[in-house]
Amino acid sequence: MSAVRKSSMVTGSGRKIKDNAADWHNLMKRWDKLNDEGFDVATNIVNLRRSQSDHLLLENSSSSSSSSSAQQVGGVSELEDECFKLQEVINKMVAVVTKMEHLMKLQQGIEDLEEFQFKGEGRKAPLFHTWNTKQFGAVSRVLFDSFSEELKLKQTILQELAHTSSSDLCMVYLSSWLHQPFIPTHTRLTLEALLLETGHRPL
């Protein structure tokens, strides 16, 4: 490895890109944890809704008593608590995606600097193994777009979940939360490729 390339990994653009890659990895881990947490809460919401509507059915078919209406109130406040918890999970996910946007912008800054430094001709040798600098930007954009869209989906689920009476639609909401349709499986591979390229993973 040339002395020039070695030093670019320790300082300057190479260092920044390497740190960004580590940040992407940490952010995606945090997202995964929040996704699991959110799924548990969302499942609770659906179950509470279901038992509430079962309760209502029972009440309508028999005479109501004070104990059953007290149960009803308890059920409503439990549901509100779970919805609040889910909102908190979403808030944390918003923070994660905001940081992802920041990483994407940092990468853009590195590209702009290189454009200026090398007067549009680009570097003669890649910063790491094979990728040119533009490829890091492309990866950041793809990752950010995936997670943004997924976040929008989760925000919609948060708004609708506690008000949905159709059990099929509730199941589709839970399914969508769990399986994250806007984060395709190859996104994980993209991250692995980024970590390999920047030397976080051994070749």
Binding site: E149, L153, T156, M171, V172, S175, S176
Partner: protein
């Protein structure tokens, strides 16, 4: 002559029952893992069914136009993963079946080789600690048949499952459960109990 043949058979029988004991434990644990995978399959089938029952364009999810295809893709992937894991478990069950089959055929081969020197009394003689050779051979054959049939039935069921066939996926957990044979399983446990003194004696 007879005593020597019986003694040789006893040695091999002891090995077979020891092998049966460890095979049974392994079989039960692999089946337990399969049960968990069947629960996952059932959950995924439920999710498929729900997605079929919803017109996304009539819901608040209409703002995500390619959501349905993407979700289908993900469900297909997840279902495929479970089916692959189930097939891996089948390999484990197959190797347990093969191990028992090999043991039992070795014992039977030995018996046949020594059949001339074994009279009726020798094979039916038993004591408080040692069951008769005839009984022990029968128990081993019963156990071998149980594992052989169980494996075949479960393998056949799995072969009917495809990730994109909702009907078969939905009914799979129930059909899998219906293959359980607690009576036969108990019989094997019973057998191992009956030979426990025999295994300890030398």
């Amino acid at each position: 002559m007879s005593r020597l043949a019986v003694s040789t058979l006893h040695d091999v029988l002891r090995k077979s029952f020891a092998s049966l004991e460890s095979s049974q434990k392994l079989w039960i644990s692999v089946l337990a893992e399969c049960s968990l995978l069947m629960v996952s399959l059932g959950n995924l089938a439920e999710q498929w069914r729900a997605l079929c029952g919803v017109r996304i364009s009539n819901t608040p999810l209409r703002g995500f136009p390619d959501l349905e295809n993407r979700l289908r893709s993900k469900l297909l992937e997840a279902t495929d993963t479970v089916l692959v894991k189930l097939n891996e478990k089948m390999f484990s069950l197959q190797s347990i079946r093969d191990s028992i089959s090999n043991q039992v055929s070795a014992v039977l081969q030995l018996y046949e080789q020594n059949a001339d020197s074994l009279d009726l009394l020798a094979v039916t003689e038993r004591s408080t600690t040692t069951p008769s050779v005839a009984d022990m051979l029968e128990w081993l054959q019963d156990a071998e048949r149980h594992y052989r049939v169980q494996f075949l039935r479960r393998k056949t069921l799995l072969q009917t499952l495809r990730a994109d066939d909702l009907q078969f996926l939905e009914s799979a957990p129930k059909r899998w459960k219906s293959l359980d044979s607690p009576g036969a399983q108990e019989q094997i446990t019973d057998t191992l109990c009956k030979v426990s003194f025999f295994l300890e004696s030398r």
